[in-house]
Structure formats: structure tokens, C-alpha cells
């Protein structure tokens, strides 16, 4: 802090500067902090990502396309999309409902509900999968009954969907609870006092306020739903072309030393992650720009 400037000069600095003179550090400290962050990102994020793509294209575009168009690969992609397509909307509805209940109401068992929501985070995915095997498996609790009625859950698509729902259900709720708690309910009260119905209040007042948290929660939820390995692996049974999701398919290819094919499918998952990040950035940027524009309009007096 040897270079600290008196606080009074603060207002003279351009407001864009984040660190004030009083709290900024010497150049050495700043650069080494930034260096550590960049190095860490490079080694643990960029490098693996680059390897995924370089390995995927190592044997040329032809092999890449061929491994994606293989029937087993296509079926894995379809199954992953199906599981995520069911799990994400369900968890969206459940997450909003649970977060709403927790943030806006007082009730008995509230802390129990919060703990239950966190359960999938604290339980190993393998255990999550095992739960369903113990419940619905042939030797399981409901197994004999299901078998008599010719219903297949374990080693079939329903089991995969169930496991995916289980491991991804905290994302939306966890993202929304702090947001809703911080907002309080004054805006909702204002809407009600102005004569809005419950639906109107939810869709026009509450939902727009939690929009970004919701988008972010859905993105995380979707990424996990598509990428989930452990829980799905336990219930899937690894039947090629039928119960393999993308992560399971990648593992099989890898174990069979078909590296290019494995990395080709892996590159699809990686691409998905990059796309969701891009979507999030673009959406946020557009919202910011819209606000800035409306402010400029007023100053030019165009609306009056």
C-alpha cells in the first residue's frame, strides 16, 4: 500500500476504474494475480479443450463425420437429447415452484425441503443411480411388480431419464432461491394492489425479475443433464444403440481404443458447453444495450 493516494483524489479519477487508489495494489501484485489466473485457466481449461478438438480432427474431417454418423453415435445423441429434453423442463417447473415456496412463504419443514433439494449435490452420482436400481431393479423393492406388468425402467430409457432428473434438480431452484429472497415481495404486493391477478403478477412482474437467474439455472441444468455420467451409467446397462447416452458412448469408444471417434463425440459435448456460454453472453449483452439505448432516447427528448 506504499503508493496509496489520499482518498480525496478519488472523485478525480475516471469512474470506469474499478479499484480506487486507496485499495489498489502495486504492479507486481496485480500482474502476478492476473498471471496466476490466466495460467490456471490455460492449463486446466484451454489445454484440455484444445486437445479434445485436435484429437477429434486428428484423422481428418472424413473420420470425424463418419464417427458422428455411425448409428450407435446417432442413437446416443438422440437419447441424450431426449433425457435432457424431459429433465430440463420438469426441473424448470419444479425449481421455480420450490424456490418460490421457500423464498416467499414460511412453513413447517422448510429447512428439510432445502436440505432435500441439495441432496443430489451431496450424494455421489453412483449412489443416485443405485437408488433407482434398488427401487426398480429386478431384485429391488418394486421390481417384481414392474416385471409382472412388463414395465422396464432399469436398463431402459425411463431409468436414464429418472436418473438425469434426480442429479439435475437442484440447479434451477438453487439459482433462484437467493435471487427471490433478495428481492422480497414488494413488487408483487404493488402489482396486486394495482389489481393484477396472480398469473399476471407472476408472468409480468416476478418472472421478468428472475429471468437471468432462470436462464442461467437452465443452462447449468442442461449442461449437467447432457454431461451426466455416473448415475446414468449405473441404470443404463450400456446397451449399444439403445441405452447409451453420449458420455457413455464416449467411454465405450475410448475403452475400445477408438480415440478419434471418442473425441469426435466428446467435441460435440464441448461444443454444447461453448454454445450455451455464447448464448448467455449474447442475451445479457443485448439486455444491457437495450437499457443504455432507452436512456439515450430520453436525453435527446425523443419520447416526450
Amino acid at each position: 500500500m506504499g503508493t496509496a493516494i489520499p482518498l480525496s483524489t478519488r472523485s478525480l479519477l475516471p469512474s470506469r476504474r474499478i479499484a480506487t487508489a486507496a485499495t489498489s495494489e502495486s504492479a507486481l501484485v496485480r500482474w502476478s494475480l492476473m498471471g496466476i489466473a490466466v495460467l490456471f485457466l490455460a492449463v486446466f481449461i484451454f489445454l484440455p479443450l484444445a486437445i479434445v478438438f485436435s484429437q477429434a480432427f486428428a484423422k481428418g474431417m472424413g473420420v470425424y463425420w463418419a464417427s458422428l454418423r455411425q448409428p450407435d453415435a446417432l442413437s446416443a445423441i438422440r437419447l441424450t437429447l431426449l433425457a435432457a429434453g424431459i429433465a430440463v423442463p420438469l426441473n424448470l417447473v419444479f425449481g421455480v415452484a420450490a424456490a418460490w415456496a421457500i423464498a416467499k412463504f414460511e412453513f413447517v419443514g422448510k429447512s428439510l425441503l432445502i436440505t432435500l433439494i441439495d441432496l443430489p449435490f451431496s450424494v455421489s452420482p453412483v449412489v443416485s443411480g443405485l437408488i433407482y436400481v434398488l427401487l426398480f431393479g429386478l431384485q429391488g423393492l418394486l421390481g417384481p411388480w414392474l416385471a409382472r406388468h412388463d414395465l422396464h425402467i432399469i436398463f431402459a430409457v425411463p431409468g436414464i431419464v429418472l436418473a438425469t432428473i434426480f442429479v439435475t434438480f437442484p440447479f434451477v431452484a438453487r439459482e433462484l432461491i437467493p435471487l427471490l429472497q433478495a428481492q422480497g415481495q414488494e413488487e408483487e404486493e404493488a402489482a396486486l394492489a394495482l389489481g393484477a391477478s396472480g398469473w399476471h403478477t407472476f408472468f409480468r412482474v416476478s418472472l421478468p425479475n428472475i429471468k437471468w437467474g432462470l436462464v442461467y439455472g437452465v443452462i447449468l441444468c442442461n449442461a449437467r443433464a447432457m454431461g451426466e455420467f455416473g448415475a446414468v451409467s449405473v441404470v443404463s446397462g450400456h446397451i449399444r444403440g439403445r441405452t447409451n447416452t453420449m458420455p457413455l458412448h464416449i467411454e465405450i469408444l475410448y475403452n475400445e481404443y477408438r480415440f478419434s471417434a471418442a473425441f469426435a463425440v466428446a467435441s460435440l459435448l464441448a461444443l454444447l458447453a461453448l454454445t450455451t456460454l455464447l448464448v448467455k453472453t449474447v442475451v445479457e449483452w443485448r439486455a444491457r444495450r437495450q437499457r443504455a439505448e432507452s436512456a439515450r432516447w430520453d436525453e435527446e427528448g425523443q419520447i416526450a
Binding site: L194, H200, R204, N209, A304
Partner: protein, 343 residues
């Protein structure tokens, strides 16, 4: 529209927020609910609005029982302390909200809504900020938008919860004059909650002073200020010197000899003299003088060791030429005595 609260009781757990409260608000009046925090004033306002429901008692609007109606059906305009503007909507959209969410058969046309919003924007003098978001407005502007939003639905009652509570002193003064003016124009029955006695006395037609879940006194600002009926009201409405003492039958004099009666004197109703007058005066030593402002504020220590506040005009102060540590004689011009049992 007149409002009547009858025998309202509300508890939050073990805490009694309102204890058998009765209040009548005649049509067209601007009434202040005045009290310290925790006195139940906001709870009473929210019960009138239908945002909260009483444990027992009834709320009548124009003599009609509305106790079990929700905020949505009561058609009240409510202004929140922290504005509660819809942050993702522009000023225009905020004000138009109440009209836009009406059921289709009673919803005004787009043009009518536009006309109404522009009329209100003119009223709050924010015509060229229609496209702004609340985050781009100052506190005073936000509060005016909140008011316009509440007025847009043409409510029969306007309820304001500490409307100027989070504004700085200057804007506060300006806005409360403006509210008074607005009320003189629109004449809508209005209730506002405040903990600021000056605000309550200046703006309202009538003041209801609240303390610990009860209404202590209801009356015109003049009445509650000059004829307080409880020690609390006297204490709360302005600065006050409190003496424990006794008052002689004939002369209004404060004695140290305590009978336990409470004697109140406002600082500006104490006179300072250089010489004793042999009657109602007592001796005091000046400890502090603050002459910045319209009145000179003097803190003194009485002969029996109690702190005394006195307010003098600047003229009188110059005439007396008082200094610190000087001994003077203080004469109360007007006393207010509350018997022990009244407390």
C-alpha cells in the same frame, strides 16, 4: 371514500402489533399515522390496504365491510417506502401497469391508456423521462413515479407507507409540499405513515399518534400539538424537557421535591433571565450554546442537576449576551403536568 377500522388486533407471534385499534377517516381527508418504529402504524396501513389481514376486527370502506377482501378487490392506491417500482419496466410501463392488467371488458383502449399516462407524467413533472428505467431515476423521481402508478387506476383511497422515508432532507421537504398540493387538487382520501412529527404536522389534515399498537390521540395538527392528552403525545410531538416534580396550586413552578408527577415544558416555552423573579424560576448553569439556525439552542444544567434545553430567538440571545458556564434563571411560561396515574 371514508375508511373505518374497528377494534383491529394483529399479532406476529408473541408480539402484539395492534391492540384493539379504532380509527375513523372521513372522506377526502389526508390523515397521518404518526409513531415511532414498532408502534404498529405500518401494520395498520397494510391492513387497510388488504396486504395484511387482522386477527380480529373489521375494516369498513364507506360503511361497507371489506375485511375479507384482498388488496386486489379493494381498489386502493398503495405507495411503498422503497417505491417497489417494476424494475424491468420503463416509467411509462410502470404507470400503465394497473390499466393494462384489467380484464378485457373494462380495460381502456391503448390510446386512452397513453393519454392517461401522459396526463400523470405531466402531473408528476417527469414528462421527458417516460422511457427511463427506475434504476436511472433519482429517489425523488422514483417516488413520484410510484405515486403516479398508484393514481393511474383512480383508486378511491391512497395509502402511503413512509413515502418520504428514504429521501434526503431537501427533496423530502419539496415532495411533501407537493403531496399536500396534490391532495388539495385531487381530494382523494389519503392515509400516510410517518415517524417524522414535523412531516405529519405540516402535511396532514388530521394526525393519529400511535404507540405500542394503540392510538394515543387523534386530532388536527394544532390539537395534538397544543393539547396533547397523554405524556407520550406531548413527548413525541416536538422537543421537550421532562421534570419529575410537583407543581404548586397557584404558581406554575417546578420543584425538585418529587411527588412523582411528570412536568413537561417545551424548550421554546422557557425564558432565561439574569435576575431571579422570586417565584417560578429556577437556577441553571449554561453548558452549551448552538446559535446556528433560526433559533438559538441552549443546553443548561438545573440546580438539581437535570439537563434543560432552552430555545431563544436570536434577538433575545443578543440582548442577554449569554456565555458558557454562566449562571442564569429559567422561568417556565407554560407547563404541562401529567399526574402519575395517567402515565
Amino acid at each position: 371514500m371514508s375508511i373505518e377500522a374497528k377494534n383491529i388486533t394483529k399479532k406476529f407471534g408473541n408480539f402484539t402489533a395492534l391492540d384493539h385499534v379504532d380509527l375513523k377517516i372521513p372522506s377526502g381527508e389526508l390523515v397521518a399515522l404518526l409513531g415511532p418504529s414498532g408502534s404498529g402504524k405500518t401494520t395498520l396501513l397494510r391492513i387497510i390496504a388488504g396486504l395484511e389481514f387482522a386477527d380480529s376486527g373489521t375494516i369498513l370502506f364507506n360503511g361497507e365491510d371489506t375485511t375479507h377482501r384482498t388488496a386486489r378487490d379493494r381498489r386502493v392506491g398503495f405507495v411503498f417506502q422503497h417505491y417497489a417500482l417494476f424494475r424491468h419496466m420503463t416509467v411509462f410501463e410502470n404507470i400503465a401497469f394497473g390499466l393494462k392488467v384489467r380484464p378485457r371488458n373494462v380495460r381502456p383502449s391503448k390510446e386512452q391508456i397513453q393519454a392517461k399516462v401522459h396526463e400523470l407524467l405531466r402531473l408528476i413533472q417527469l414528462k421527458n423521462l417516460a422511457g427511463r428505467y427506475p434504476s436511472q431515476l433519482s429517489g425523488g423521481q422514483r417516488q413520484r413515479v410510484a405515486l403516479a402508478r398508484a393514481l393511474a387506476v383512480e383508486p378511491s383511497v391512497l395509502l402511503l407507507d413512509e413515502p418520504f422515508g428514504s429521501l434526503d432532507a431537501k427533496v423530502r421537504l419539496e415532495l411533501r409540499r407537493w403531496l399536500r398540493q396534490l391532495h388539495d387538487e385531487v381530494h382523494i382520501t389519503s392515509v400516510f405513515v410517518t415517524h417524522d412529527q414535523e412531516e405529519a404536522l405540516e402535511v396532514s389534515d388530521r394526525v393519529a399518534v400511535m404507540n405500542e399498537g394503540r392510538i394515543e390521540q387523534v386530532g388536527s395538527p394544532d390539537e395534538v400539538y397544543h393539547h396533547p392528552i397523554t405524556p407520550f403525545v406531548y413527548n413525541f410531538l416536538g422537543n421537550v424537557n421532562l421534570f419529575h416534580g410537583r407543581i404548586d396550586e397557584e404558581t406554575p413552578a417546578i420543584h425538585e421535591a418529587a411527588t412523582g408527577d411528570l412536568v413537561y415544558v417545551r424548550p421554546h416555552l422557557l425564558e432565561i433571565q439574569r435576575q431571579p423573579n422570586g417565584g417560578s424560576d429556577f437556577r441553571a448553569v449554561i453548558k452549551h450554546i448552538n446559535s446556528a439556525g433560526p433559533l438559538v439552542k441552549i443546553e443548561a444544567l438545573s440546580e438539581w442537576g437535570a439537563p434543560v434545553q432552552v430555545e431563544l430567538s436570536q434577538e433575545k440571545f443578543r440582548e442577554l449576551q449569554l456565555a458558557k458556564e454562566e449562571t442564569v434563571f429559567i422561568i417556565p411560561k407554560e407547563l404541562k403536568v401529567f399526574q402519575k396515574k395517567a402515565v
